[in-house]
């Protein structure tokens, strides 16, 4: 990384402008953007080499790889922004295999007209998130599209992690009798996003739960014998209901849930009431579902509850063996119902 003094001297003026087509043209403006923003903030030995690729040592075990495109409106929301989300989302996808995350890559599609000051905030937040997770962003790419062809900024991140040979956590391994654990309250992210959208403003103190779950997963994996954890998944888009339906289908099992055990914050419930939404279908960005052998459920619950990101963890249901493949729920009211896949999108109700 060449000359900190030079960067500081140009950064002030540089960040006052807006993204234009020259920032993606391959010329001086693009080089300046990469040097003064991306390399400076993401700063690590791989980027400093200035190559078009990162050369990484291959660790023992198996490699785990996942990629995720991040498009979100608004770019900044209570509890995070698209930058931190792009790091957390991909790390979580990697670690739901039980892996330790190692490296990230980042591809940026910038829309002409995006304020460089906003880009700087996003990149800084991304850099902070990657540093906190110990997963450097080792390679990247930037393109600029014309105004109207994007939505401010789109970020695609790819993550690589390493997994010991004896761990086999997969969505098709849920077995009848297994316990279903959830690491905390649902719906925080989705409601935080909706509360900050321009046409749906309401005052709320709800912040996104956006967080990287690698340390929580590491502690869970370390606490029980390798075969104990059958499935891990983060219930993002489509919420808890969609994730459980995915797992039920993948494993060819059915599930029953206990509504009274599913943690939902009062403020999230209130916002959902107001909007006519079901928190089971609202997105999360810092929660996980764990399906495990019933003998280890209590141990895992303790480990989760002792971790900052799992304080409100609960055992919310069990895996069953019936031919229907449905996720059913005992309602807190006393009846029962199916918890189906989400149809279309969740939309506010009419009256």
């Amino acid at each position: 990384m060449s000359g900190a003094a030079k960067k500081t001297s140009t950064a002030g003026g540089f960040l006052q402008g807006k993204v234009d087509m020259t920032h993606g043209s391959g010329g001086r403006a693009m080089a300046q953007l990469i040097d003064n923003l991306f390399i400076e903030r993401f700063d690590n030995e791989f980027l400093r080499q200035g190559n078009d690729q990162a050369c990484l040592a291959v660790p023992a075990g198996r490699l785990v790889m996942s990629t995720d495109g991040h498009v979100i409106d608004p770019l900044f929301f209570p509890g995070g922004d698209i930058g931190s989300l792009a790091v957390h989302g991909t790390i979580n996808d990697v670690v739901m295999s039980g892996a330790t995350p190692l490296y990230l890559s980042a591809g940026f599609i910038l829309e002409q007209g995006l304020a460089l000051a906003d880009l700087e905030k996003i990149v800084s937040s991304m850099a902070d998130a990657a540093r906190q997770c110990g997963t450097p962003i080792v390679t990247g790419d930037t393109k600029v599209v014309e105004k109207g062809s994007g939505d401010g900024v789109f970020i695609t991140t790819t993550g690589i992690g390493v997994l010991p040979e004896d761990i086999h956590i997969s969505g098709d391994r849920a077995r009848p009798g297994d316990a279903i654990l959830l690491s905390g309250s649902i719906g925080d992210h989705g409601i935080a996003i909706m509360s900050s959208r321009e046409n749906l403003e309401f005052e709320t103190s709800i912040v996104s739960d956006s967080a990287a779950l690698h340390t929580l997963v590491a502690e869970m994996v370390a606490a029980v014998p390798a075969p104990a954890i059958h499935c891990l998944r983060d219930p993002t888009r489509g919420g808890l209901a969609t994730t459980l339906n995915e797992l039920a289908r993948q494993s060819d099992v059915s599930m029953s849930l206990w509504e009274s055990e599913i943690p939902v914050k009062a403020s999230v419930r209130a916002a959902c009431e107001l909007l006519g939404l079901d928190p089971l279908y609202v997105a999360n960005e810092g929660k996980l579902v764990c399906i495990c052998h019933p003998d280890h459920a209590q141990t895992l619950l303790q480990v989760m509850q002792n971790h900052a990101l799992g304080i409100d963890a609960a055992i919310i249901g069990q895996v069953n063996d019936d031919a229907h493949g449905f996720v059913q729920m005992q309602t807190a009211f006393g009846g029962s119902r199916i918890v189906d896949w989400l149809a279309g999108e969740q939309l506010p109700r009419i009256c």
Partner: protein, 381 residues
């Protein structure tokens, strides 16, 4: 959560269930129509039917504004949306309802029409004075609950003399629809009605008094929380046991006999009775809907734009009309769960979150392990 949790308590549900089981006479059938899709939704979402004895059944009514709008009116809305100068705003569920030729507002939106969801208000920038073009049209649907906001929008548009705002009015009326259900050529056996409480926050409980007198069917104005539904069912059972044809109000926390006089006045100022409206399911019903008064004609999309009245055919085999009258259950439809699902709806009742078919499918179905077999026998409720 205050004012919500109180109406969802498990122990109170158990107590009410015991009361209902004790008071419902074993030899008698109680066929209670919940008029409103909001009730249908609550019954399924909380599993209310599981707590009731076999002889107390809910019959699902037509109170789903998206469901009762006939295809022909939706086709007109789509024609309107396809005009390049028009921005069409409507309530969200409406976007996915299938129209003629397998079109929908969502599909024409994808093809380039400017269709937006959300509640309309004149404060939108595209409606400000000086904006070009015809501006936005509001595809207004709904029962009495959603009518006052449309009235306010029209009054504001008039006060501000907006040039680029119009309303395609499809507001419909609840008590008239209840009459139409009972006067249908093959009426459904109904012993009493759960009246929609949100509607009554506007119109009060009084409009049902004449209805009860004429048709000798008790009405209980019922809230939308599961305990409200159970309490209302209990009240209806007591009325039926006592042979009392009366209107009772379970939702006293928001409904009065007279309703909201201010909202009623706003509606009366802007709207007048439409001589006839074609409902999906109920057919042509006289004086069952509202239209915009001549004084506001310049904001009336039906007058401002030529919206040709074309014949529209619904999907063959779709039983939405019979489902909306309570004459059939969703599972009686051959299309239910075979070709018609929330992902690929053939009729409006499978689209709306208030639709009976969507509620059955999302909360209450049980799929037979052998595919291709009718699911009738396997559905809860």
């Amino acid at each position: 959560m205050k004012y919500i949790d109180e109406f969802r308590q498990h122990d109170l549900a158990g107590k009410l269930a015991a009361d209902i089981a004790r008071e419902a006479e074993h030899a008698r059938q109680y066929r209670l129509m919940e008029f409103c899709g909001g009730h249908t939704h609550a019954i399924f979402r909380y599993g209310v039917q599981d707590l009731l004895p076999e002889n107390v059944r809910f019959i699902h009514g037509p109170g789903c504004p998206v469901c009762v709008l006939p295809t022909q009116r939706l086709d007109q809305a789509i024609d309107l949306a396809e005009r390049p100068e028009v921005i069409l705003c409507t309530y969200a569920d409406m976007l996915r309802v299938p129209a003629s030729g397998r079109r929908s507002l969502l599909k024409v939106k994808a093809a380039g029409a400017d269709v937006r969801h959300g509640v309309f208000h004149t404060g939108r920038p595209e409606n400000r004075p000086g904006q070009p073009a015809a501006g936005s049209g509001f595809f207004a649907i709904g029962f009495e609950t959603t009518t006052p906001p449309t009235a306010v929008a029209l009054l504001q548009a008039s006060q501000e003399d907006l040039q680029n705002f119009s309303v395609f009015c499809n507001h419909v009326l609840t008590p008239v629809a209840m009459r139409a259900i009972l006067e249908a050529p093959e009426p459904v056996a109904i012993d009493g009605f759960l009246g929609p409480s949100h509607v009554s926050t506007i119109i009060g409980s009084r409009p049902y008094e004449q209805f009860v007198e004429q048709y000798r069917k008790p009405v209980v104005i019922a809230g939308f929380e599961p305990l409200d539904v159970m309490q209302s069912a209990l009240m209806l059972i007591r009325l039926l046991n006592d042979n009392r044809q009366e209107v009772e109000n379970e939702y006293t926390r928001a409904v009065t006999r007279e309703g909201n006089a201010k909202a009623q006045a706003l509606v009366a100022e802007v709207f007048q009775l439409r001589s006839v409206f074609a409902w999906r399911g109920l057919g042509d019903v006289a004086e069952s809907a509202l239209q915009i008064r001549p004084a506001f004609a310049r904001f009336d999309a039906e007058r401002r734009f030529s919206l040709p009245h074309r014949e529209a055919a619904d999907v063959k085999g779709c039983e939405c009309p019979a489902v909306l009258r309570g004459a059939k259950q969703p599972v009686d439809c051959k299309l239910f769960g075979t070709v018609c699902t929330p992902e690929n709806p053939m009729g409006s009742c499978m689209v709306s979150s208030e639709g009976a078919c969507a509620a059955y499918w999302s909360y209450g179905r049980l799929r037979q392990p052998v595919s291709g077999r009718r699911r009738k026998s396997a559905v809860i409720a």
